[in-house]
Amino acid sequence: MNEQFYNVSANPHVRDKASTHSIMLDVIIALLPATLFGWWNFGVNAVILTVLSIATCVISEYAWQYFMHKKITVGDMSAVLTGLLLAMNLPAGVPYWMPVLGGVFAIIVVKQLFGGLGQNFMNPALGARCFLLISFAGMMTDFSVKGFGTTFDATTGATPLAALKAGQAVNLKDMFLGLTPGTIGETSAILLILGGLYLIFKGIISWRIPICYIATLSIFVLLFGGHGFDAVYLAQHLCGGGLMLGAFFMATDYVTSPITPKGQIVFGILLGLLTGIFRIFGGSAEGVSYAIIFCNLLVPLIERFTTPTAFGKGGKN
């Protein structure tokens, strides 16, 4: 009779097209406009730092997996994304060893030592940024670099939020477009928002974390900012300090944010509160990175309390 044998496996026998690779690629695509703008704003150095950062991350991941005899997974693009995010969080004037050190730290210490993709509890790029900030505070907060399209006064090199905190005037339009000092990828609010919307519409990230984050911070600033209902002041807060980069791209990192829908709402609100506290009552003007890192640590706890109810097991479905 029929002697042919066919593949067998458990159901289902079909798979969705989206893969880890395609998702990472989509996030990179969403970051591109802001990256290109950063290069234009901060010049050749920004380009070199970005390339170094990505290369370091990919090579570190490859080397680790090679020497630890693990499956090589650099093809999934997650290391490229980490490298890009790290570069976007660096000021354009740092020396070239900075992205290399940061990249190695992000991939080896924050990601691989905890078991690799999906196992780390801190966002690798942010972990590396905070590590660099603590170790090299001076260089990491020196924003006095000029690029091709620079229009801001590079000599003072104060970020708009720092200026705001110091009581100086800042131009909201420049902040919105990104014509201000800052890290390579954080300045252009509009391009980051566009990238974020792209991810939401493609179904890569949900609206829950960014919207809850931004909404909570807004309310916090209006209540405690000391400026009453001042729309311009509020907008300056939202456009500055890497909030858009953090809210759309760093806080939504799958691995280090809650997986449960309700948990994502809680996470967003906590981020808003913490950022508000850091910015308004704390010493520094920014606060986004530390808020995210701190909330990363709370994720297991948040998930425990927000496990969805099984269908037909009480609760509303």
Partner: protein, 437 residues
Amino acid sequence: MGLLTFKGGLHPYDGKELSKDKAITEYLPQGEMVYPLSQHIGAPAVACVKKGDNVLVGQKIAEAGGFVSANIFSSVSGKVLKIEPRLTVSGNKVNSIVIENDGFYKKAEFHPVETMTKENILAAVKEAGIVGLGGAGFPTHVKLSPKEPEKIDYIIVNAAECEPYITADYRQMMETPEDLLSGLNIILSMFPAAKGVIGIEDNKPEAIRKLTEMCKEEERIEVAALKTKYPQGAERSLIFAVTGRAINSGMLPADAGCIVDNVATVIAIHEAVTMGKPLYERVVTVTGDAIAEPGNFKVKSGTNAAELVDAAGGFKTRPEKVISGGPMMGMALSSLDVPCQKAFSSLLCLTKDEVAACEPGNCIRCGRCISVCPAGLMPTRLSEIADKGDFALFDQLNGCECVECGCCSYICPAKRRLTQSMKTGRREALALRRRQK
């Protein structure tokens, strides 16, 4: 009525255009006929013929082996060759009656139900060996005998046919809708307090139009348009969509006042009651991109699956995978040398095996499996627990609520085999429950 639906689910490529406009044609088998004694949920049937016996079409060849079991009938006239274990769609060898087809199709005598009482209808359904034809194969007379019949207020015809590719129920709705309504009216006559709802996904507008038109005169029957979303036809999802009542794995549809049967099953009830015809044939969709001429066939039980491929023009390309049922919940067959049995709704032949094509990677915690799970579970966590072998914890976290729909594996970008782990977890956890009792 607006579009009814449930939470979770997804939209796989549906492939129905391959066969949806192909009228049902009868296929007469060539080779020997094989009738597994266990082709339903419950106890195996017991053979009541022996080697050398002559049988007729519609003659009982095996007797139900208990209340939850079903009679089995010959679909051809001819001679019993032997009774021996044969490979079935389940992948196991099952004791089967093998019959040589004489090609005359001489029929046994059928006796329709004369006085339509509840008892007579139930007896006829039971005698005809009817089981759920959607895939589960649960004996229908058991479903029709709920503990508290007066509490049944919905008879739902599952016409969602949400599995991609399959068009068997759809064709029957288009070609013999009067039989469907007759069958539904028979069930309704058993439950005076109930109303009949035919739930159809809105990707079958012609069927919705046709049945709505025909139901104008029917006071107790209503057609409900359901949102097209897999697994709309899963019993619990369908009950929720139609009635808003949520049941869990520990409950029966009857606990929510519902009896659910799919289209083919309701038509089989009609045939058993009005004609006395037992269940020995069914409509099977033979389809997939490996099949030359996909179509819908009326197939006699016991027909070899390889013959169906020939009936549909043979293979266009060699398939990597052949499946009994749909791509989401069907069973992969290692060989086509298996008989079609009662719950065999489709033979799907795919040129490419998407499962073998993708390596599972690390979970990236994207949460997709959670948002598609119709059972409201966290497949990523539960599958990990199942893989570690902690079946007590698996059960405690409601892992047994999984309906094995396949949505989580389908959607996972890391291509993790979540459903597979969930199935193992369920099996082991349920076994653990039994041991602890």
